[in-house]
Symmetry: C2
Subunit: 274 residues, 2 copies
Amino acid sequence: MADQPDIPLRILVNGLAATQVAAMDRGLMYGDGVFRTIRIADGRPRWWPDHLAKLAEDCARLGLDCPDVARLDEDLARIEPLPIRGVLRLTVTRGDGPRGYRPPSPQRCTRILACWAAGDPPYPGEGLNIRVCDLRLARQPALAGIKHLNRLENVLARAEWNDPSIAEGILLDQSGRVVSGVMSNLFTWRDGRLQTPSLRLCGVAGVARARLMRLAAEEGMIVEETDFDLATLLTADEVMLTNSLFGLRRVAGLGARIWPEPLISPRLMELLDA
Amino acid sequence: MADQPDIPLRILVNGLAATQVAAMDRGLMYGDGVFRTIRIADGRPRWWPDHLAKLAEDCARLGLDCPDVARLDEDLARIEPLPIRGVLRLTVTRGDGPRGYRPPSPQRCTRILACWAAGDPPYPGEGLNIRVCDLRLARQPALAGIKHLNRLENVLARAEWNDPSIAEGILLDQSGRVVSGVMSNLFTWRDGRLQTPSLRLCGVAGVARARLMRLAAEEGMIVEETDFDLATLLTADEVMLTNSLFGLRRVAGLGARIWPEPLISPRLMELLDA
């Protein structure tokens, strides 16, 4: 993501141009909120309805009043024109309220929409070199799957490497199950089946992952959510990563293990990008 | 904490009076930071050196550049006069930087100091009624003990009850070990020993807990960090909770289990408040 400049082009807070939020916002006090990272392609937010649906689902899991679709569409219209290519981040927090963990009632949520210009998605066709992170994800079914603002595990995992030739790190959970990448979901292709780690105990269930599972199943592929460890991952016929920014990328190397040729990934990329 | 008003009397951001922080601060984007909740008594922040030491320790655990003591003392001088009785919250985040989990280098941390007026600490002498939370804490040794900004578990646990007669909820971990309260640490008195759950896998190691352990040991008491489950907790001779705001309070009831009389708690309250 090195080609993305630091400074957002525009930020809206609760529908108004702004650069700041309340210092006592629960998003900052407690990480009490959720977010979406959305690719802007041809000046439009890609998979916008999917992102709004996932946002609503994540808010519901946390008992957070989600802004309605009309309101978020209005915000989107106000932040336009978007850059031709870029990144949009949508954050919803539980807003401010009395000090203390207890959620306020009623809630006045905070909506933050920010857009950045960016080049083409990083890591095109040739395949990614990745590593395995030392940090092991905690198992927390109450938060599993949600893209919430409590992302210190991802921050610590991403801080483990500086080598720019390493595009992503694989995260295992405390018992050694493969969960995902630091900023992506993971798929394997094995014996003609598309498999992805189940995320009932930890990890973020991304929009690209859900789309790929649905589209591949519609194509008649066998798609499975399952549990496997690192040794099993290394025996996969092909390993792929998905996220909303780069779509799908195949893994070319993980330590000494090389996957020299793509197998199913070109077809899946085509499916996902259609 | 119902008697604490919502609005801070004063907020300083990086040493300057402010009410807002950058919308792209990593404290909000990822919960990438730590904080302290400090009691103000007689217009002074109680246990200030302990809080600064713990802040530095927590920052070091996260690879976060901690502001030095002189800088934080300067902030404290600028926010004065403090209310006679109240609460001070000190937050340090990794500041802003390029989008993405990777910590920026160099870091420009954000310091937020806010104070509230408040009455006497809640829950005086008579003993607290508490409950057991449904939410089970995740085990994450990389974050255990740290008072970081990823507090969704505490938010969800605190959202479990509305009954104002319930002062606190007990948190167990995924395997049923007792860890702490939602906003406090826990001690038991059993056969003449002071015991507190070990926090190597989850929980926040508070300043009041550390002070009490040290002071009790200096008094010649046997003080142990140990692991125990809820059934064992219920057989304790006395159960007590500590935090920086209320100091130490004994538990009077947990469901059907009543502890009618204080045993060691008056002596420990005296020790801690000395």
